[in-house]
Subunit: 228 residues, 2 copies
């Protein structure tokens, strides 16, 4: 059975994001996958990158360099226990699903903190092992999110610009950098401004997609896909 990690960032279980997360757990479990959820708000996940992420002494206490210290701490096995937990979940997963409401053309800070703190050099990448040879290659990721703006606002000529523009830092800059291949994003546009019926259709569409998810080919994560 395949292993899936859902990293989920919504405060309210009754939200559409909450329902999308539950549907993924249900549908993927039904398929025989083993599903783990990191419910970031429920965990009160720490988003700040600080000295507390390193157990014991610093490599260079004179001038704190977060990247260097995390790399060294990873090699010594001295990362804080919450990060070791998350890294274990990532290591075991075949697929990472990120479920969140779009905040300011990006993920909520609590999820950005997960990226900043968990995907440490040595664990997720280690130059020159980045992009296609990143340390997490052979894994898949899928960004599933809701927006405030409508699909028209996120069209190529729309005021928000093509939705793909804002996927570049998240998909290429983070996931691809670590060697992870991207499945097409799953986007629910403006659920707050549509009918209850439309919202139900959104949930059904997600359940449907999940049924054949493992047959999907990853996108070609190059500038053409984003900016063609």
């Amino acid at each position: 059975g395949r292993k899936v990690l859902i990293v989920y960032a919504h405060q309210e279980p009754r939200s559409l994001n909450g329902s999308l997360k539950s549907i993924a757990v249900e549908e993927l479990s039904k398929q025989g996958c083993s599903v783990t959820v990191s419910d970031l708000y429920a965990m009160q996940f720490e988003p700040r990158a600080t000295r507390s992420d390193i157990v014991g002494c610093l490599h260079n206490p004179e001038e704190f360099n977060y990247g260097v210290e995390m790399w060294e701490a990873y090699k010594r096995g001295d990362l804080s226990s919450d990060l070791i937990e998350e890294q274990k979940k990532v290591q075991e997963a075949d697929l990472l699903i990120f479920q969140f409401p779009l905040y300011w053309f990006s993920m909520p800070a609590i999820m950005k903190g997960w990226m900043d703190r968990v995907l440490v050099q040595g664990f997720a990448h280690e130059f020159p092992n980045c992009y296609d040879s990143g340390l997490l290659k052979d894994k898949l990721a899928l960004f599933s999110f809701t927006t405030g703006g409508s699909e028209e606002m996120y069209a190529k000529g729309g005021i928000n610009g093509d939705i793909r523009y804002l996927l570049w830092p998240m998909q290429h800059g983070i996931m691809h950098f670590c060697g992870i291949k991207l499945l097409a994003p799953h986007i629910c546009f403006a659920p707050e401004y549509v009918s209850e019926e439309k919202r139900k259709e959104m949930l059904i569409a997600w359940a449907q997609r999940l049924k054949t998810l493992w047959k999907e080919e990853p996108i070609n994560c190059s500038p053409e896909w984003y900016f063609k």
Copy 2:
């Protein structure tokens, strides 16, 4: 005298980011500007968007919707005191400078949390008052940051893609959305991999730029600038 707010996100005062921040305080003060710094790590600024950001009762306690609750709380004057503080600083500022190390093609989570929690609907935007008619129009913003990757890696054909691609969500998606005009970003590429002399040159170049900053014209914040 003009007012400047520097939102600063680095853990180490002795870092290049720390020096860039200090230089801005010094140079702008010398010009007669009044300069305020929000030193996010020193403040232990909270990045998570939670129920605690609203004082008193919720508008809809049945289903917590962060955006709606924050909008309502703003109108009632019921935002948590740390947010009221930050909004006051923004309101008074003519120019916002964001000083940070690039983390994963974006700002560190602690700064993303500042955006998520401070730039509330009603305060920074209120449909249809967004983009050129955003509620913070007549203000300027400048993103000043350091990178891990070199300038060549962030060139148009480089493995990281054009650095401007990753500026889209931050400059257009956040600042422009609130009506704020953008001065050209100030980027120090890969300071960790250059000589001490080169780093000194970076500091001098920033001080030099600040001397004539108020004569600069904002960029044309449209897709052409980013993806031309």
